[in-house]
C-alpha cells in the first residue's frame, strides 16, 4: 500500500486512447475485413456528401451549364458515350455521376437528421419512462406499442400525407424537407425509447443508483449523470441500424413521390425519374443511382451488424 502519486489528467487521457485502441471493440474492428471495408465505404459517402459541390464534376443544378443536347448520353465506356460524363446523362442533360453525388448528399443528410432527431426524442422519452415509471410510463408505452404494431413505412406515409393535406396540395420547397425528416423521425423514435427504457429499468435497480439516492442526489442528476452513460451502448447500435432504415425509408418515400422536393432530388427521386426511361433503353439513368443507394445501405448495415456483435457481451 504505497503512497504513489496521483496520475495526472493528461496522462490518463492518453492512456484512454491507448486503451481504446487496445480494447475489444477496436480490435474486433481491425480484425474484421468486412467491417473495415464497410467503414471505408461509408466514410467515402460521408466525404462525398460533405464536399459534393467541390468534387462533383459538374453542377447538375446550375441551369446555365446544362445543355439539352447532352441528354441521354450513355456511360463513357459504351458506344456513343462522352468522356465528359462518366456515367452518362439523364433526360435533361445532367451528368449522372454528378446527380448521384449530390443525391447521396441529400439521402445521407436526411437520413442522419432523421436519426438524430429520433434518437434525441426516443432517448429522452425512454429515460423518463423507465426512470419515473407509473402513469407517465404507461402512457408513453401505450403510444409506443400502438405505433409499433404498424410498419414504419406506413407511419411515415401517414404523417407525410397528413401534413401535406394540412398544408394543401401545393406544398413544395424546403417545407417538404422538414416534412420528410419529421415523418421518418416520428416513425423511428419508438425503437430508441423502448431500448433505452428497458436498459434504464435494469440499471435503475442496480445499487449504484441506490447509493446515489442515499447520498441525497436528485432524480435529474441520477438520470443524466448515472443512467445516460450506461444507456449509450445499445443506443449506438440502434442508431446505426436506424440510419440504414432511414435512408431506405427516405428513398422509398421519394420514389413514391411524397419525399424530398424534386428540385433537390435524393437517390430515391433519381431512381423514380429514371424509371420512366428503363424501357426505352436508357437504363443508366435509374440503375446507377440504384447501385449507389444499394451500396450505401449495405455498408451502413454492415457497420451496424458489426457494432452489434462487437458490443454484445454474450458473444465475446
Amino acid at each position: 500500500m504505497s503512497a504513489a502519486p496521483i496520475i495526472t489528467r493528461s496522462e490518463s487521457r492518453r492512456g484512454m486512447a491507448r486503451r481504446f485502441w487496445d480494447s475489444d471493440l477496436a480490435y474486433s474492428f481491425r480484425r474484421s475485413k468486412v467491417a473495415v471495408a464497410a467503414g471505408v465505404i461509408t466514410f467515402v459517402y460521408l466525404f462525398a456528401a460533405l464536399f459534393a459541390p467541390l468534387i462533383a464534376p459538374h453542377d447538375p443544378y446550375d441551369m446555365a451549364s446544362i445543355r439539352i443536347l447532352d441528354a441521354f448520353l450513355p456511360p463513357a465506356w459504351v458506344e456513343g458515350g462522352d468522356s465528359r460524363f462518366l456515367l452518362g446523362t439523364d433526360n435533361v442533360g445532367r451528368g449522372v455521376l454528378s446527380t448521384i453525388i449530390h443525391g447521396s448528399r441529400i439521402s445521407l443528410g436526411v437520413g442522419l437528421a432523421s436519426v438524430i432527431l429520433a434518437a434525441t426524442l426516443g432517448v429522452t422519452l425512454g429515460l423518463i419512462s423507465g426512470f419515473v415509471g407509473g402513469r407517465v410510463d404507461a402512457v408513453i408505452m401505450r403510444i409506443a406499442e400502438v405505433q409499433l404494431s404498424f410498419p414504419d413505412i406506413l407511419i411515415a406515409l401517414l404523417i407525410d400525407g397528413i401534413i401535406r393535406s394540412i398544408l394543401g396540395p401545393g406544398a413544395h420547397g424546403n417545407i417538404a424537407f422538414f416534412v420528410v425528416i419529421a415523418a421518418i423521425s416520428l416513425a423511428y423514435w419508438v425503437q430508441f425509447a423502448r431500448t433505452v427504457r428497458a436498459t434504464t429499468m435494469v440499471e435503475k435497480s442496480k445499487d449504484y443508483i441506490s447509493a446515489a439516492r442515499v447520498a441525497g442526489k436528485s432524480p435529474s442528476y441520477i438520470m443524466f449523470r448515472h443512467l445516460l452513460p450506461n444507456v449509450m451502448g445499445p443506443v449506438l447500435v440502434i442508431a446505426t441500424i436506424s440510419l440504414a432504415l432511414a435512408i431506405v425509408t427516405e428513398a422509398t418515400l421519394s420514389f413514391l413521390g411524397v419525399g424530398v422536393p424534386p428540385t433537390q432530388p435524393s437517390l430515391g427521386t433519381l431512381i423514380r425519374v429514371g424509371n420512366d426511361f428503363l424501357f426505352s433503353g436508357e437504363w443508366w439513368i435509374t440503375i446507377f443511382p440504384g447501385i449507389a443507394l444499394a451500396i450505401m445501405g449495405l455498408s451502413v448495415n454492415l457497420l451496424g451488424d458489426w457494432l452489434r456483435d462487437a458490443l454484445n457481451p454474450k458473444l465475446r
Binding site: 404494431s149 404498424f150 413505412i153 396540395p169 445501405g297
Partner: protein, 326 residues
C-alpha cells in the same frame, strides 16, 4: 382463460377506436369537403345549405358517432377524384392486394424459417455464410429497388415476364383471381418475390438469432448433459422454444407485408389498394385516404390479436399461474 381473451379483445377495440378518431379527423377537418364538392366560386348561402344537409354543423361527437356508424356498415363516402363510392373501389382492388400478400407471406415463411434454422444449427457451413451474406443484401436494399432490378433483368433484358399489371383475371363471385391463368401467374411472380424478399430475410435472421440464443441456455446445456440426442435437443427442445417468441414478431411482420405492398404495387403498377392509396395521397383524396387507414388498421389489430392469443396458448407460463410450492 376467458378473462384474458376478453381483456385483449377490449384493448383491440380501444385501439380501433383511436384509429377511427384519427381517420375521422382526417375526413372531416383536413381540407374542406364543401370546397371540393362545389368549388370556390359558389355563394356562401349554397355552401351553408350543403353543410347543413350533410350534417357538418352538428357537434363533433355526433358527427363522430355517425362516422363510426357508417363505417360499420361499410359506407365510407365518395372519392373526391373518382366520384365513386369508396367501398366499391376498395372491393374491386382488395383481392389483388390480398392475393399478392398471401403469396408473399407463404414464400417468406416457407423459405425464411427453414433457412434460419439451418444457419443456426450449421453455423460454419458455406451455405450458411452464403445465406447470411445474401440476407444482408436483402435487408439493405429498398423494396422498390429490388423490384426495379428484377424488372430490368426479367422484363427489359430477358423479356420473360410482364412488368406491370395483373395479367388475365378470372372472376369468382366477388373475388377476382389471377392465379388461374398463365398470364396471371407470370404477372404475380416478380411482385411476390419483391415483396417477400425483405420479410424473408428478416424472418431468417430473427429465427437464426433466437435459435442461437436458445442453444446457449442452461436448460439446453442440461439436456445435453443428460445425453439426449442432438435431434431431440435441436428439434424437440430448442426449436419449440425458439418459435414461441418468433411467432409474435412473425405475425407483426406479416402484417407489414400488406403495408409494403404499397411500394410493390407502385413499382409493378399492380391494381391493388396500395396503389390506390398512393394515388389518393398525391391527389389529396381524403375519403380514400382515411378509409384505407381504417382498413389497414383493422387488419393489424386483428393480426395482433391473433398473435397474442396464439402466444397465450403456446407458452404455459402464461396459461397456468404458479401453483403452490409444496
Amino acid at each position: 382463460m376467458i378473462p384474458f381473451i376478453l381483456s385483449r379483445v377490449l384493448q383491440s377495440l380501444l385501439v380501433m377506436l383511436g384509429v377511427a378518431v384519427i381517420a375521422f379527423m382526417l375526413f372531416n377537418y383536413v381540407g374542406d369537403p364543401i370546397t371540393n364538392l362545389v368549388g370556390i366560386q359558389s355563394s356562401d348561402e349554397k355552401r351553408e345549405e350543403l353543410r347543413e344537409s350533410l350534417g357538418l354543423n352538428d357537434p363533433a361527437l355526433v358527427q363522430f358517432a355517425r362516422f363510426v356508424g357508417r363505417a360499420v356498415k361499410f359506407e365510407f363516402g365518395i372519392s373526391y377524384q373518382q366520384k365513386r363510392k369508396v367501398s366499391v373501389i376498395i372491393a374491386e382492388r382488395l383481392p389483388a392486394t390480398l392475393e399478392l400478400s398471401m403469396l408473399s407471406a407463404l414464400i417468406a415463411l416457407g423459405i425464411g424459417i427453414p433457412i434460419g434454422i439451418y444457419t443456426a444449427l450449421h453455423r460454419d457451413s458455406w451455405f450458411s455464410h452464403l445465406c447470411l451474406s445474401l440476407s444482408l443484401i436483402g435487408v439493405s436494399l429498398p423494396t422498390f429497388l429490388i423490384g426495379i432490378l428484377l424488372i430490368f433483368i426479367f422484363s427489359v433484358s430477358l423479356q420473360l415476364l410482364p412488368s406491370f399489371g395483373r395479367g388475365e383475371v378470372v372472376q369468382i363471385g366477388f373475388w377476382s383471381t389471377g392465379l388461374l391463368t398463365v398470364s396471371g401467374l407470370k404477372a404475380i411472380i416478380m411482385p411476390a418475390i419483391t415483396l417477400a424478399l425483405f420479410q424473408m430475410t428478416l424472418i431468417m435472421r430473427l429465427v437464426r438469432s433466437e435459435m442461437l440464443e436458445v442453444l446457449r441456455t442452461d436448460y439446453i446445456k442440461f439436456a445435453r448433459a443428460r445425453g439426449l440426442t442432438d435431434r431431440t435437443v435441436h428439434f424437440g427442445y430448442a426449436l419449440m422454444n425458439t418459435l414461441v417468441p418468433v411467432i409474435t414478431i412473425t405475425g407483426l411482420q406479416l402484417g407489414s407485408i400488406i403495408a409494403f405492398a404499397i411500394i410493390t404495387e407502385t413499382v409493378f403498377q399492380w391494381p391493388g389498394v396500395g396503389l390506390m392509396f398512393i394515388q389518393a395521397i398525391n391527389e389529396v383524396d381524403i375519403p380514400v385516404m382515411s378509409t384505407y387507414l381504417l382498413l389497414i388498421a383493422s387488419f393489424f389489430v386483428i393480426i395482433n390479436l391473433i398473435v397474442d392469443l396464439l402466444y397465450y396458448f403456446v407458452d404455459p407460463r402464461l396459461r397456468i399461474s404458479r401453483g403452490p410450492g409444496a
